[in-house]
Amino acid sequence: MGLFSPGYLAAAALVGLPLYLHLLRRHDAESQPFSSLMFFERRTRSSIKHRRLRYLLLLSLRIVLLLLLALVFANPFISRPVAGMGGNKLLVVVIDNSFSMRAGSRLADAKRAALDLLESRNPATRAQVLTLGSQLHALTAETQDKRELQQAVEGVAPGDSRASFGQLASGLRSLAEAVSIPIELHLFSDLQRSGMPAGFQEMTLPPNTTLILHPVVKEATPNWTVEAVNAPAQVWEPKKARLQAVIAGFHTPAATRTVSLVVNGKTLATRSANVPANGRATVEFDSLDVPYGFSRCEVRIDSADSLPADDRFLFSVERSDPRRVLFVHEANDSRSPLYFGSALTSGVEGVFALETRTADEASNTQLSQYAFVVLSDVLSLPSSFESSLLEYVRGGGSVLIAEGAAAARRSRIPVFGGIIQGVRNYSGSAQRFLTVGEVDPTYPSLAKADHWANVEFYFAVAAETSGARVIARLTDGTPLLVEKKLGEGRILLFASGFDNLTNDFPLRPVFVPFVEQTARYLSGMERRVGSSVVDSFFELRCDKDRAASVEVVDPDGRRPLSLKEAVTSSMFQLSRAGFYEMRLANGRHEVIGVNADRRESDLDVIPEDVLALWRGGPAPASQPVAASGVVQEQTKPFSLWWHFMLLLLAAAVVESLVSDRYLGRLRDET
């Protein structure tokens, strides 16, 4: 209850007037001589008190009259919850089932509060139940069926997604366009601060929407989590593998946590991590002794907090022998395999094994066993081998083509398919060489190669690059590095040679990281990840036209894709935390550990002032608390002026009657 004009309450001080007149005012009794007081007694004074007591009713009425008068001017009001008022509106019940709602009994509390709301709902009001994760999911259509709504609420299961209030607002905006009646949005959530979008305006709700928040918690809850694990996705030498885990505490005191590395259900090592208050600690494991093939690994901590689901971080590790790389060159070219092989082995020691062949020798090679193939300034390729290469690329393989001086005797680039538009021999020019003019640093091969400007190119091939991506150009605009996708694989064209005749690239330090990164990229190591985040997407195929079937097995061992989807789907959303097994369109087998977004582990809540802004009104002074948790409802002031005015009139009438009775008695006495 509040007052619109509390200043008028000062008028309540007027109650002192009847108090003074009735009780406090000195009684001015008239003095009169009398012959004798013989028949008057001392107890006559009590009769005056009795008289005053008899007038207490009148006094009370007058005090009430003045208080009511002050209250009428102060204009009191009560705050009535907007909920349950019925009317022509759509009741939208949104239950947050994001990962953080797994903490404690949050989800159960939210469902219970939602059921209570539906129970008190006006039966004529249509309602709809939705869940909020990274997306807004509708569990029911607009309906008045109480049973359907209750079943939908009861069926809400905890999710692993990250709540996004921006998505909530976006979904409501879409919903508001579809309905013409006002929307009353009830959000049952822990109102996690991390659920807010980067821009507050993204949380803007439609004008016809009234937001009523039902927070299940009021303040931040301490929580430890394995925030991140830095582990190699592939291991060739387990003894040399290193693993780092970051243990984070949100709103936690300083503590020591025990960190365990578990591989295929077996604990391999245990460490202690001194996590500072509300801080992070890094734990390192020196080896990752995993068996060949895919291993399901996890890093665990003993947190004993309210959210145990984030106490482990899942990831997969693949152990294999060094990947074989086929290097095809001309028989008279000994420089290229030397420089390339040296760079490859020095950059990623033990990962790749380079096999050098001539084109004729490579004709009968089974290409699928190679991570990628390098065609180093090959004058001609047997047609069968070229066909095999094309098939290899379409099936997901990769080919790196280096065009050296031999290109001058060809009209097209094999496998790549582009027509050679000309050769650039810069040694004959006055400048004698060209350097790299433009570089796309985002390309994986160039991620660590940042000193291209010093490389001198004496010879380059100008090829047709239609349908291809130019990654680097020489200063005259000649494409130097071009990537072309073919089927599930890719072809990377280097418009110069790997020998030191057409350029001095092999002699430059930038050559080693270029070879290393290119090898990783083309072999697929760059794309191989051991862990991912819930709600992220995984690419199942690159060639949408290729009708290769994929297979996905979710953490529960079920196949979420239908047969049709298995043939057509190119992306798959990792919606659950756990290990997914996949067989991709390129034939590769993948196991990936999916973890909830660790921003969900920060159980801090949105400040009340921000919530008030979101609701579009001032912050309430207090929040009603329900037995099942904190329930905050938006309220609307309801003036009681008219009620108090009626009470005032009634009190005035009664006061008149009572005073008339007393005055009448007084008249009788006199």
């Binding site: 009684h27 009794a29 008239e30 009169q32 009398f34 012959s35 004798s36 007081l37 006495e669 006199t670």
Partner: protein, 295 residues
């Protein structure tokens, strides 16, 4: 209609002698018209002469016929000694309508003196008292006694407070002859004490008549609001509510009057209540009734 003269009108008449004459003459004239009351100096009896009797009262005609000396006695001459005990305490100053109780008492006393001395030629005396005997005029029927009595009444201004017990000790010293004793007072004292104090007068053969003078406001007081009453004798203050004065006080004053009346009659005394808003007829009528009874 003169007998119904309002006491307030009498108060406007200067001179107690004129007041007394006005009252008594009117009263007597009224009596002549009344068949129930009669009084004159008519013959009563003959009594044998005894030595010491006044020779002037011998009926010489009887002596001439029978040679025996007889004294001729008249009815009015059997009790001729009237003594008025007038209360002159401060409480007698009270008035609610223009005539104080003191004035009313003096009017009544003056009328009695006039009736006694001027009409019947009887002896009359006056004792003015409050807590002690303030003045005393010896009963006599000599020439000028009436004016002496009126002078005593005029000087009997109220003061001090009433104390019957103390004053009565002195009364007995002055009242050695039997007669009619009229006590005029407001009698604000315990009735038992009053009766006990006056009983010795009765025991000595006096006819005692109590004139209880009260103002009508003393009998039925009316207050519009709580009133602080200041007692006139002691100046003690007391706040009184209208309800009490309306309900409780009348019971008490009535009980007091009744107790005094019963006590007086129980002791052979006559009692009469005189309200100052009523004419003096009642007092005179009572007086004459007693006088007639004695004769």
């Amino acid at each position: 209609m003169q007998r119904f003269i309002d006491p307030a009108v009498l108060a406007g008449i200067s001179g107690l002698d004129l007041i007394a004459k006005t009252v008594v003459d009117g009263f007597i004239a009224g009596l002549h018209r009344s068949p129930n009351f009669g009084f004159s100096q008519e013959f009563a009896e003959y009594r044998a002469y005894t030595p010491g009797d006044d020779l002037r009262h011998i009926d010489w005609n009887v002596y001439a016929r029978s040679e025996r000396a007889y004294l001729k006695r008249y009815r009015g001459e059997t009790n001729t000694l009237l003594t008025v005990l007038l209360d002159a305490s401060n409480s007698m100053k009270f008035s609610s309508h223009g005539v104080t109780k003191s004035d009313y008492a003096r009017f009544a006393a003056a009328a009695l003196f006039y009736l006694t001395t001027q009409t019947q030629r009887d002896a009359a005396g006056l004792i003015v008292f409050d807590d002690e005997v303030r003045s005393y005029i010896r009963p006599s029927n000599r020439q000028g006694q009436f004016h002496r009595l009126l002078s005593g009444l005029e000087h009997a201004e109220p003061r001090a407070r009433t104390d019957f017990t103390k004053a009565l000790e002195r009364f007995l010293e002055f009242l050695r002859r039997r007669g009619l004793v009229v006590v005029i007072s407001d009698f604000y004292e315990n009735p038992e004490r009053i009766v006990r104090a006056l009983e010795p007068l009765r025991f000595r053969g006096n006819e005692v008549l109590l004139f209880h003078v009260l103002d009508p406001a003393e009998v039925r007081p009316h207050f519009r609001a709580p009133t602080t009453l200041i007692e006139m004798e002691t100046e003690e203050a007391l706040e009184v509510s209208p309800e009490y004065a309306r309900v409780e006080y009348p019971k008490k004053i009535d009980a007091h009057i009744e107790a005094l009346r019963d006590g007086a009659r129980g002791s052979g005394m006559d009692y009469h209540l005189l309200r100052t808003d009523r004419p003096l007829d009642d007092a005179l009528r009572e007086f004459l009734a007693i006088r007639q009874g004695r004769s």
